[in-house]
Amino acid sequence: MGAYGAYVWTCFALTALVLVICEWRASSRHRQICREIEVRVKALGEKQ
């Protein structure tokens, strides 16, 4: 890569990081919503 190595590798690393963050955010949000629904339905069941 010569003198441009730092620029090129930074861009590729940043891209990989963003893809990982997008993947992680999608998974964590899904788990969070599922947990919220579980807790809510359990609370409703206990009330009844």
Partner: protein, 250 residues
């Protein structure tokens, strides 16, 4: 056709379909990106003017293309939701916004890093392509902030849809900015008269990256919309049954 669309708009049907489709987007997407990144970094020859710095094109162009495509998905879905009052369309728009914002950030960041050795500057305020892309990022932020500020989902859907549609005027500005005004940014490389202005050894990895990014975006969008559907339908019986069967609770 209408029957298919009507069925697709049904949340339980869409949820099941999304779960089945996600791997068909994710796996080819990551394989294409792996090939494109390897060929772009190690196989494609250096550019005669830019040397190895041109390799940034393999991440910059796909992210820039997706930043605009995600906005188009968002605006069209918001329009469909607004006109036909289809809740699923609003869920698609809500799912596309954060992804679009991430890809816009990536396009701006990689463009800025590429600009430093080529133009001698990280940023140029007078450049129409850079500025219109930055406006796109602010439109995504505005859309998400507006949705987050309104508690009522139906009202949030309508207000954010109007913003998404108004902001769509920025899409042709981004695309044609390099032709309409004098710009530091280079003109079109792929979609120009007489075919792509790039050698095949450089072109194929780029096409693989663009296709790979599109597949990955499709997979991520399906995942986000699936979650959005689950949240919106959280009071319905099918969602309760689904969540409890997934958790192994009877």
């Amino acid at each position: 056709m209408w029957k298919f669309l009507h069925k697709l708009a049904s949340p339980p049907h869409f949820y099941g379909l999304a779960v089945r489709l996600i791997p068909w987007f994710a796996v080819p997407g990551f394989l294409l990106i792996a090939y494109g990144a390897y060929a772009g970094l190690f196989v494609a020859p250096p550019d005669y003017q830019q040397g190895d710095a041109f390799r940034i094109i393999y991440v910059h162009v796909p992210s820039a293309y997706l930043s605009v495509m995600a906005y188009m998905v968002m605006a069209v879905s918001a329009g469909i939701g607004l006109i036909w009052r289809m809740k699923l369309a609003h869920a698609v728009a809500a799912g596309a916004a954060p992804l679009g914002a991430w890809f816009t950030f990536l396009a701006l960041a990689t463009g800025s890093i590429w600009g430093r050795p080529m133009w001698g500057t990280w940023w140029e305020w007078g450049d129409p392509r850079l500025t219109s892309e930055l406006v796109l990022l602010f439109l995504y932020f505005g859309y998400m902030a507006l949705r987050g500020a309104i508690d009522d989902t139906a009202k949030a859907d309508r207000a954010s849809a109007v913003l998404a549609l108004v902001g769509a005027v920025n899409v042709p500005i981004i695309h044609f900015s390099v032709e309409w005004w004098s710009s530091l940014h280079q003109g079109p490389t792929l979609f120009k008269e007489g075919g792509p202005a790039i050698d095949n050894a450089m072109l194929y990895p780029l096409l693989a990256m663009i296709l790979g990014f599109t597949f990955v975006f499709g997979g991520l969008l399906l995942r986000r919309v699936r979650t959005e559907v689950l949240y919106r339908e959280r009071r319905t019986r099918w969602v309760r049954e689904l969540v409890f069967s997934a958790a192994g609770i009877k």
